[in-house]
Amino acid sequence: MKAQLGKLLLAELMGWDDAEATKEFAWLKTVVEYKYDHYQGYNPGSRFFVNLLAWLAQFNPADRQTAYKLVRHRLIYISQREIHHLVGLTLPRLRRDNRRAVSNELRIPMCASWGHSTAERRAKEMDIRTVFIGLSDGARTDVLRRLNEGVISNEQIVAATEISIEKWNKLRDELGKRLRLEVFTDSPATFERVCLVDDFTASGSSLIRRDNDGTWKGKVPVFINQMIKAERFGTHVTTDCVIQIHHYIGTEHSRDIIEQRLKEYKLHLGGLGVSFTATYSMVLPKSIVINDSSDPALVELLKRYYGKTCEDEHTDEDIWFGYRRCGLPLVLDHNTPNNSVALLWASSLRPHEETGHIMKPLFPRKKRHVEHGQSI
């Protein structure tokens, strides 16, 4: 649909007068061209305006203003270029942490490590002996590779957590070659730092959680278990390696939960010498979260137009505030997380029992399922 037509219909739907229409059109012109039209969940020919109109039309005229305000004032859309920028922040963060570790090792203040030949060598060694493992497609290891070309070797970045023994061996061999090239003749060809990379966590649950029966589940425990089972610790990875979990986008909520759980998990692991740390390129603040104490009109809207049929066996019930009630007004360029308020992404399978309402999404979600309801 052409933008002209879209705006015309929108103004009618919203009952705007000329002054309001002029104002809103200006905003929409900017943001639609810049971001919303590029949403990967759209089909060509039915981009933002079409979806916005359909979305707004589902509401009673009296409710449309509230719905529109959600988009106009609270929606956070992170574009592909922005995510790529967040990917680019990974290595500097890691490097900074490495340098701190080196300084601690040598018992010198960090400021003294610069130009200090032992420290510089050790830092370089640590950089070489780091492996980056993407926890999902969202990790964008291809982008990570491209942004750090010439700085991180291709053989330091791997796309999935289930890496075969052949692959691990190859990684180790290449590591050995690089160490020899840089004259680290005494250094063992084992990785001392494992950086697990993923794009987004809102509740921390897919990363790490403890079930009711006490079992640890999630990507980190899965990874650790695989490593233990395949006896990688000591052979390809040091027994006291640092496991750094880096997300491009986190929330204050997930950051707090993950920190807590990693502590508990480490205790659970008992004798295993590995340590954990969690870092983020960007942390979304609590202030963006929509919950029961948010604007009453909005909360009421989210609940009234909610249909249970968007739930499935992986999600909880009553997720008008999104999975795990994360209450995020968040859309990512490639997909909308189900931690976002349902009204943004949900579609009903069937009409609502009582109201007959069918939910229409503004940014439809592709269900790319991993496990336990959390998927992006």
Partner: protein, 364 residues
């Protein structure tokens, strides 16, 4: 002593900065510390960390503007007194520096450099420019001067900045109606030879700077330079995730183009990390150089740092490393409707950065 470059730039953030102050500066043989008596308590943060250290000579500038609000003036006086109370009189001096001349011309940078030139001495092992309370027009020339002089004396040269996420008062600034090159950062802009150079303008967007952007755009336009591209830098990530979008929308008129126009290319840089700003600009410059080398045309990038302190620090690093011109609009006065905040005995800072711009780390 060699200095930082695009390939290597030593920086510390957060608590690492305090460690640096304690472990390096406090033990350095002789330190020249140049700061400003500012409006926010963070302007005296580093002075508070170094108070009582025997080897430091403190020199403070007091920026003089004609338009000064009573509350703003009081805060300045308060911090001046704070410094006087805590620093030994023999080690610290205060100097007024005129920011805007009576006829409206910006003279801040030139004045500051002139005043500071007499302070240098080869006895100093370390020179620190504390930009926490300084305006850009003064901080950047002082930094460049420190680097040039410091290098001839084989001294370490540092710039430090402390800030808080929330200011103690909300300031409204009144800007000048003309744009200026930051003193020492004009490069070749204004020479006839640059008349036909393609100009790439890289303005840093921050809240409340629409008028300045407008003035700068007109200035560039008046130079007759061909403005080939505008690459606004927006803060991302930011404390407010929508900030970048809002800024691009609010300033589309000042930038003479909406996002999506060919001439506009957005650059992202971490709101609180000057190193990210620095590297984002370097990356962009590298690409641009390749492109323009192929066309054989002359091109120049003009940077415009905003009032967003951390970010603008990244810009001056890029300007120094790549010899790029810096264009800005000076503030002629501040007003506030906020009440006088309570005095703070020991200032704290949410964000701290230290950049080691020249000296021992680069000697390898």
């Amino acid at each position: 002593m060699p200095s930082f470059s695009t390939k290597r730039c030593v920086a510390h953030g957060a608590d690492d900065v305090d460690e640096f102050v304690e472990q390096h500066l406090c033990h350095a043989s002789k330190v020249l510390f140049i700061g400003t008596v500012g409006i926010e308590p963070t302007s005296v943060y580093f002075a508070s960390k170094l108070a009582g250290t025997a080897n430091v000579d403190f020199r403070f500038l007091i920026e003089q503007r004609t338009n000064t609000d009573k509350v703003v003036q009081e805060l300045g006086d308060r911090h001046l007194q704070w410094l006087r109370d805590r620093l030994a009189a023999s080690t610290c001096t205060f100097h007024d520096v005129e920011v805007i001349a009576k006829d409206g011309a910006t003279v801040a940078g030139r004045n500051a450099a002139s005043i500071a030139s007499s302070w240098y001495d080869k006895a100093y092992s370390d020179i620190v420019i504390d930009g926490s309370g300084m305006s850009r027009g003064i901080c950047f020339p002082l930094l460049r001067q420190a680097m040039e002089i410091g290098q001839t004396y084989n001294a370490n040269v540092h710039v430090v900045v402390a800030s808080n996420n929330h200011r103690t008062i909300q300031l409204q600034s009144e800007s000048n109606d003309r744009a200026d090159w930051i003193h020492g950062f004009q490069a070749d802009m204004g020479l006839d030879a640059m008349s036909d150079a393609l100009t790439l303008w890289i303005p840093q967007l921050s809240h409340g700077s629409s008028a300045q952007l407008d003035v700068m755009y007109r200035h560039l336009s008046a130079l007759g330079v061909a403005l080939a591209e505008v690459c606004p830098i927006v803060p991302f990530p930011s404390v407010d995730p929508r900030r970048g979008d809002e800024l691009l929308f609010d300033y589309r008129s000042a930038l003479r183009g909406d996002v999506g126009d060919e001439r506009l290319n957005v650059i992202y840089a971490h709101e609180g990390d000057p190193m990210d700003v620095f590297h984002s600009i370097v990356r962009m410059e590298n690409i641009r150089k390749e492109v323009f080398a192929a066309t054989g045309k002359q091109a120049v990038s003009v940077l415009s740092p905003s009032g967003w302190r951390m970010g603008s620090l990244g810009m001056v690093l890029a300007a120094m490393a790549l010899n790029l011109p810096l264009l800005y609009v000076e503030t002629i006065g501040y007003t506030t409707t906020s009440p006088l905040p309570a005095p703070i005995d020991t200032p704290t800072a949410d964000r701290k950065w230290h950049i080691w711009v020249a000296g021992s780390p680069y000697a390898v």
